[in-house]
């Protein structure tokens, strides 16, 4: 049976894969059959009836099954008595579709008239006006006058907050159910639904807080009318006033492609401001979705609290200074301390910033005391070898493939990966989840393996051994069963995180996971291993958007740019901080990190000289000698490398705040004072140097990163086949750099002897939450109500034993840091494992003291 089908639409023949519905087939030949309820990412429901078209099938002889032809020898086509919905009817061989006959255009007019009877026609004040599917379709096919008595219009509430992020205008809603279907079918958060029936159908929510979902903003993109709007954009601007600037989300390692809609506005003092952030299509990364953090947590960029000029400490006070003065001061002092200087950089920095950072240290100061902070997780070097193969797309995983997720709560750490894994499972992927507690992924997992703190390495080791001796038998033991499903898989993708693991444990675990991809036996893969083949490999769930880039650029005490192993190793982040505490190092340069605010450094420790380069006057900046104001990602250009090692460009959207400068430029100007030559003219020039020095990036430049190609489904634009307002990608799909396994054989990694570490009876495990407190989120008050306050979730028995009751403030400390959090006593936390949620950069698990301070 052939997998492709040829049909004729308005006399144009088109060949499509089996299963394609008529509206999609038509779109392929640029025939826009109008739709409202249909969305190419969701199952068709045929509700709105806008896509009714004439569909005919060739007539066959009942006996012979031969096609019956007319006098001219053409197949006789039988059109049924009624029109059919093009969104639900699948293309069939020989099918004939008419989309421009008078009966079809009359129908479109009729359906639009029905929809408009209840519509308020408040287009002049509607946020969707200008990019509205109903407006566009009415212009094309609708009636010019109304026969509906205006007094009969249903009056409904127009400002219904579905929670504090999304507002509903009940009058504008056309009951297409895109939003409710998105919430239940795509993201499995059915927290909005229809209430009542008939003309009284209305969208409601009962969750607490309202519309409690990390995905709520997407419903405003796919809403074909102005019924759903976001709290921060509604009545904020008209779509035609906006300039679209391509960007990359700076919040997590997924690297969602976004578009910032900006406008110059008087009320902002003539500044260009970001009016909204929306998804930009990249079917290999985020398709057309983004999470609410990516959409709403951007207001920090134009926060009044932003640092606007350099500051130096004079007579105990931080005072405004010129760049010249500040940079001269920093350069002078650093030259003095030279290699006893150390540097910490954050994973929100771009590749250009990070490259320049390591260059200042390595070449300017001859110090290798640099590291990424927080350094939660090892394995960048392993990922460079056995990481997910270039050209992979999680969307392509399906039946016969397997995914393993280790020690990560993807829904909180990298929501779009959670979504893509969930959808992969729905396509038939066998998912194994390995963690020390239950997460939202468990619901979709075929195998769930829970380990105790300290036992992650031994648990993974058991799995690795099971794979090596794969018997093919269906063992009842979950580890063996899971191992079988991994090794038998056509394709295998492994995500790993650091939840409940120490840094050293992640270092062992990642090697074993790589070995899972490198084991050459069993199953359908027989003579080869998974690594190096498309849609296979490791993905690190890094804690920040560009942690991968920091590894690539060599912001490590042991590696240079492009993973060149360094002969003498510098201090790592932990040693740097402890040396800062005891005075072993004299000066510290921090870019985009706040260890003082995180509780990892008390005051400035014993440092002689502290430089902080950041967006805000953080706790660390407050105790610094020199504070340098950096630009946010919205003000400058640069590149991030996501967890799938895709290098992606972002573009400047707004003017710099005050005198702030791009991080790379500040570092380059500092470098000039340290004898590194003139700063590059632009980020793109600096990127050329990166491409020269980092082998993995060779061949890339800003132009190649900006290349795009047409993707399916087609979204954005003003076509009538309406995929939503997510933006068409015209500014670059990025480039995924090849893992070593693609070009050479990788041998199994040596695994140190795994000893069962004796875990304490009681440990505290920091867990990630999407809305945790932090430098950026604190400046975006829109989601204040949803931010997870620092909380210790503790089992009722553990709490009782320690005299803790629900709501108590407890002090969590381990000698290096100390933090006060509220206790939440519940039965869900496992006995012996308390979960610390909503805090900043703390790695775990930690054995610590708990002191109850009462309520």
């Amino acid at each position: 049976m052939s997998d492709s089908i040829t049909l004729t639409i308005d006399d144009v023949a088109v060949t499509v894969p089996k299963g394609t519905v008529v509206v999609d087939a038509a779109k392929l030949i640029n025939n826009d059959i109008p739709v409202f309820c249909y969305h190419p990412k969701m199952k068709p429901v045929g509700m709105c009836r806008m896509c009714l078209v004439e569909i005919g099938m060739p007539v066959r002889d009942r006996e012979t099954r031969e096609l019956i032809t007319d006098d001219e020898g053409n197949p006789k086509i039988n059109f049924g008595p009624v029109l059919l919905t093009g969104c639900t009817v699948q293309a069939a061989e020989g099918m004939v579709v008419r989309t421009n006959s008078s009966v079809v255009t009359d129908t479109r007019d009729d359906i639009l008239e029905f929809l408009l009877t209840s519509h308020p026609l408040d287009c002049p004040i509607c946020d969707k006006g200008g990019e509205c599917s109903l407006q566009n379709l009415t212009m094309n096919f609708g009636p010019g006058t109304s026969r509906f008595d205006y007094n009969d219009k249903k009056k409904q509430d127009k400002h219904v907050p579905l929670g504090d992020l999304i507002y509903l205008d009940r009058e504008r809603c056309i009951q297409c159910a895109r939003c409710t279907r998105f919430q239940s079918e795509i993201v499995d958060d059915p927290v909005i639904t229809f209430h009542n029936r008939g003309r009284s159908l209305e969208i409601v929510t009962m969750s607490e807080p309202g519309f409690d979902s990390y995905w709520s903003g997407n419903t405003t993109d796919i809403c074909p009318v102005g019924a759903l709007t976001t709290a921060d954009f509604r009545f904020g601007a008209r779509p035609w006033e906006l300039t679209q600037v391509a960007s990359i989300c700076p919040h997590c390692p997924v690297g969602c492609n976004t578009t910032m809609s900006t406008r110059v506005e008087a009320k902002s003092g003539g500044r260009t401001v970001i009016k909204r952030i929306m998804p930009r299509q990249n079917e290999s990364v985020n398709e057309i979705w983004i999470c609410d953090k990516g959409r709403f947590v951007h207001h920090f960029a134009d926060s009044p609290e932003r640092l606007k000029h350099p500051m130096v400490r004079e007579e105990g006070e931080l005072v405004e200074a010129t760049w010249e003065k500040a940079l001269d001061l920093v350069a002078g002092r650093l030259k003095m301390f030279k290699s006893s200087t150390a540097g910490l950089a954050g994973g929100r920095l771009s590749n250009e910033d990070l490259y320049q950072f390591q260059k200042v240290f390595g070449q300017g100061l001859e110090s290798k005391n640099i590291d990424l902070f927080p350094q939660r997780m090892a394995g960048g070097d392993i990922v460079a070898q056995a990481g997910i193969t270039s050209g992979s797309n999680l969307k392509e995983l399906g039946l016969g493939d397997a995914i393993l997720v280790v020690a990560s709560d993807l829904h909180e750490e990298a929501p779009v990966w959670w979504l893509r894994v969930k959808q992969a499972v729905e396509r038939g992927v066998a998912l194994t989840v390995l963690n020390l507690r239950s997460t939202r992924l468990d619901k979709y997992a075929k195998h769930i393996i829970q380990f105790n703190p300290g036992e992650a390495p031994s648990t993974v080791h058991k799995m690795l051994n099971a794979v090596k001796v794969n018997s093919g038998s269906s063992s009842s033991d979950v580890i063996h069963a899971a191992a079988d499903s991994l090794i038998e898989a056509n394709n295998l993708v492994i995500f790993y995180g650091a939840e409940g693991l120490t840094y050293d444990e992640t270092d062992i675990v990642v090697r074993m996971l790589a070995n899972l991809l490198l084991v050459k036996r069993g199953g359908r893969v027989k003579d080869t291993y998974h690594a190096g083949r498309v849609n296979n490999g490791l993905i690190a769930v890094w804690s920040q958007a560009n942690t991968q880039g920091a590894w690539d650029m060599g912001v490590r005490p042991d590696l240079g740019p492009g993973y060149q192993v360094q002969s003498d190793r510098g201090m790592d982040a932990e040693s740097i901080l402890s040396s800062a505490r005891d005075g072993e190092i004299k000066s510290l340069y921090m870019v985009g990190v706040d260890p003082v605010g995180d509780g990892n450094l008390a005051g400035r420790g014993a440092l002689d000289f502290l430089v902080v380069q950041d967006l805000f006057l953080t706790e660390s900046a407050k105790v610094a000698d020199v504070v340098l104001p950096a630009q946010s990602w919205a003000e400058r250009e640069g590149t991030f490398t996501n967890g799938e090692r895709r290098v992606q460009r972002f573009y400047p959207a707004i003017a710099p705040v005050g005198k702030s400068r791009a991080d790379w430029l500040i570092l380059a100007q500092l470098g000039e004072r340290l004898g590194l030559g003139r700063p590059p003219f632009a980020a793109s020039i600096l990127f050329k140097e990166i491409a020269d020095q980092v082998a993995q990036y060779s061949g890339m430049d800003y132009r190649s990163l900006a290349q795009s190609e047409e993707q399916w489904p087609k979204v954005g634009g003003d076509d009538l086949y309406y995929g939503g307002t997510a933006y068409r990608n015209q500014s670059g799909l990025g480039q995924q750099w090849p893992a070593e396994a693609e070009s050479r054989e990788i041998t199994l990694y040596d695994i140190p002897e795994i000893t069962e570490s004796i875990s304490d009876k009681f440990v505290v495990v920091p867990i990630q939450s999407l809305y945790r407190k932090g430098t950026l989120i604190d400046q975006s008050n829109l989601i204040d109500n949803r931010v997870h306050r620092p909380t210790l979730m503790i089992n009722i028995d553990d709490a009782r034993g320690r005299g803790i009751v629900d709501g108590d403030v407890v002090v969590v400390e381990n000698g290096k840091f100390q933090i006060e959090v509220q206790a939440e006593v519940n039965g869900q936390a496992r006995s012996g494992i308390a979960l610390l949620r909503g805090t900043g950069s703390i790695s775990g698990p930690i054995r610590l003291k708990l002191v109850s301070k009462g309520q």
Binding site: R49, T117, R147, Q175, G198, R199
Partner: protein, 433 residues
């Protein structure tokens, strides 16, 4: 003539297992289990041409034949969501002759290889279904249900399920949605329930009366059945008579009985009360076009009213005498469909709402010539565009009353309301009164 379906009218206490059995009950099932392969049962039902009594008239045997022969879970669902205005035949069967329905459903289950039967009662039947549930227990304790029925290899469970007030759940795919715990909104077809029905498994959904026809057919054979009624519409049919009629109630008649006989014959409706003149008849509750005097000689068959532009439907005859304001009557039916529209598809959701608004204006004396044109036009706009039949039904009273009683519509245009609308009729904005 003895009843074939309403047997309780002839045999006292036939709702009891022993009485039913003593009067030939479960003989059909026993015979099938003993003598027939499942496919043979389908063939007999096909040959007898039992057509769906829910209104659509689709041949039951053909429906059963669509079920894939493959292994795996399959379901029979008995549609007891009887909600069409003027229809009360299934309720009488369920309350009085439950075993015949159970036996019919079991024959279907045996024929298609189902192991589970659900009966979907409308929620309002919760009390009245007590007899039926007692019959189910009786059937279980007498081995007519459960494991190895009557000592055969065939095992089957039978569960009752209650809806909660929604006419649309009588539509088979909406019923399945509701049974799965979802909103009762129709599914797009294909896939048809025979391929992907309840829990996505092959499913037959049959009306109560349809299934009650099956046991006697298995016992007496298709030829016996084909001798009752007409060639295209064989068998007996229960007609429900209501409205302006002297003897309202259910009457089991052979298909082909003329409508006039049903309305006027002393055996049946016995004519119009108070010596008033007959004006019009709704032949299938609210869901088929109204007919007038000229159509009364048509036979009660699936085809009989075709030439008068109407349908047999569920054979719920609502008679109206000369005093009835036909615009008012049409409004009440439109009100029903507006109230029961699930809201899933645009033409039905918006169309029924719009139609009702115009009717209220007309009856309130605020109507215009244009309103009558718009009524017709809106009804035409709905036809052929709705997701299920409900929206199509809603157009029937509108177009048929305008066709037969245009002068009554025009009489509303002079600024004088012909009918006083009560508050209870006005209270239409809310889904729930």
């Amino acid at each position: 003539m003895a009843h074939i379906l309403l047997r309780h009218r002839d045999v006292k206490n036939i709702h009891q297992f022993k009485v039913y059995e003593a009067n030939g009950g479960y003989e059909g099932l026993k015979k099938a289990l003993r003598d027939f392969e499942p496919q043979e049962v389908i063939d007999i039902v096909k040959k007898s041409n039992i057509r769906g009594r829910g209104g659509a008239g689709f041949p039951a045997g053909v429906k059963w034949g669509f079920i894939p022969k493959s292994e795996g879970r399959k379901y029979v669902v008995v549609n007891a969501d009887e909600s069409e205005a003027g229809t009360f035949k299934d309720r009488e069967l369920l309350e009085n002759n439950p075993h015949q329905v159970i036996e019919g459903a079991l024959l279907c289950a045996y024929a298609i290889g189902a192991q589970t039967i659900y009966i979907y009662f409308r929620g309002e039947f919760m009390h009245t279904a007590e007899t039926f549930e007692a019959a189910l227990k009786d059937a279980y304790s007498n081995n007519a249900l459960g494991a190895n029925i009557f000592g055969s290899e065939f095992s089957c469970d039978f569960y009752s399920h209650y809806g909660a007030g929604a006419y649309i759940c009588g539509e088979e795919t909406a019923l399945l949605e509701s049974l799965e715990g979802q909103l009762g909104q129709p599914r797009i077809r294909p896939p048809f329930p025979a391929i992907e029905g309840l829990y996505s498994k092959p499913t037959v959904v049959n009306n109560v009366e349809t299934l009650a026809n099956v046991p006697p057919v298995i016992i007496n054979g298709p030829d016996w059945y084909l001798n009752i009624g007409t060639a295209q519409s064989p068998g007996p049919k229960i007609a429900c008579l209501s409205g302006h009629i002297n003897q309202p109630g259910n009457y089991e008649v052979p298909m082909g009985t003329p409508y006039r006989e049903l309305v006027f014959d002393e055996k049946y409706g016995g004519g119009i009360p108070g010596g008033k003149a007959f004006k019009a008849l709704l032949p299938s509750g609210g869901s088929a076009p109204i007919i007038v005097e000229e159509a009364l000689d048509a036979p009660l068959t699936f085809e009989g009213l075709a030439e008068y532009g109407s349908l047999l439907g569920s054979a719920s005859l609502i008679a109206m005498d000369e005093t009835v304001d036909m615009v008012w009557a049409a409004m009440r039916i439109v009100h029903f469909f507006r109230h029961e529209s699930c809201g899933k598809c645009t033409p039905c959701r918006e169309g029924t709402f719009w139609l009702e608004k115009i009717y209220i204006r007309l009856l309130d004396g605020r109507g215009t010539e244009q309103d009558i044109k718009v009524l017709e036009s809106v009804a035409h706009q709905m036809q052929g565009r709705c997701l299920c039949a409900l929206g199509e039904f809603a157009t029937s009273p509108v177009l048929s009353t305008i066709k037969y009683f245009p002068e009554e519509y025009r009489a509303k245009l002079n600024g004088h309301p012909a009918t006083v609308l009560r508050e209870s009729e006005w209270n239409i904005e809310k889904v729930k009164a």
